[in-house]
Symmetry: C2
Subunit: 175 residues, 2 copies
């Protein structure tokens, strides 16, 4: 029997991108700020008085390469990989450094995913799969298979999709 | 009415990758060699006596960035872009420098293609589209829409697909 196909997003699903912003904030300013508050700040004042934005950080070399893996993602992905055909589907084109870094990141943390199953794209609606695990409504609402909303601060208000709050819940649903 | 979706490969379809190898050969050795002969050489001897391979060149920074656009591709892509939804679908993951270079290349030569419609991948069979224009049998044979084989030296023997020999023939078929 053909394996079912899972399409899985990277940022804020496999990768704890939100925490990377919090970490950058702490390193750059010497202060702590929750992601909830940080993500709503349009600007960040640095100790030298100049301002930066979260958007600037994403364009910096090294931002993506150093992101932590989401808790339990490695172990559960290994099990999912035995049962499903997995494609990693990540919006990477917007940030020039991110592609090479994201590929290296995948090779380090998820070496059992062959590069042929990694997709960098903008839109995701042309991907044919049975499930898409993603934190963005715009990707899930145009997906033709079963969408699963991976919980993130920015999507707490969304009620249109089956929600998975963490990788343990992904395992419960799909394993 | 929804536009039909075209998926279009880069190397040896939009981009004249074969000529880039011939150009590298000429620059590096000072000699000329047809692509037909060059592609069959497992090694190339350099003037200093050392050997290199075509595969080494692909891994060099700048290889992809400097590839010439295939004749008529720009003009015909502009017209196709009015009539179809176009996704560029390129195998880029294998070569670490290629992704940023291919993206810049697209922005230079095909600025009317928004980055959201560019896909870097390995396998292509999970792409849902009405047509795929590609030079590789392995991509066409697993594609679920209508496959169109773009002629290249390496696929002259293949008879299983509708063939387009150049961009003028793409125009005749799809415009």
């Amino acid at each position: 029997m053909m394996k079912q196909r899972l399409a899985i997003d990277m940022d804020d699903v496999l990768a704890d991108t939100a925490s990377r912003f919090v970490e950058y904030y702490q390193t750059r300013t010497g202060n702590e700020l929750s992601w909830e508050k940080l993500r709503e700040s349009s600007q960040v004042q640095l100790p030298d008085g100049t301002f930066t934005t979260l958007h600037d950080w994403v364009f910096e070399e090294g931002f993506f390469r150093g992101i932590k893996v989401m808790p339990d993602a490695q172990e559960i992905m290994k099990k999912l990989h035995e049962k499903y055909e997995i494609f990693i589907v990540s919006a990477a084109m917007e940030f020039p450094y991110s592609m090479k870094e994201k590929l290296e990141w995948m090779q380090e943390h998820f070496p059992f995913i062959d590069w042929r199953f990694i997709v960098f794209c903008g839109h995701k609606y042309m991907i044919k799969a049975d499930y898409l695990i993603d934190d963005h409504e715009r990707n899930l609402s145009t997906f033709e298979g079963t969408p699963l909303l991976f919980t993130a601060q920015h999507n707490l208000h969304i009620q249109d999709f089956t929600r998975v709050n963490n990788w343990q819940e992904v395992a419960e649903m799909l394993l």
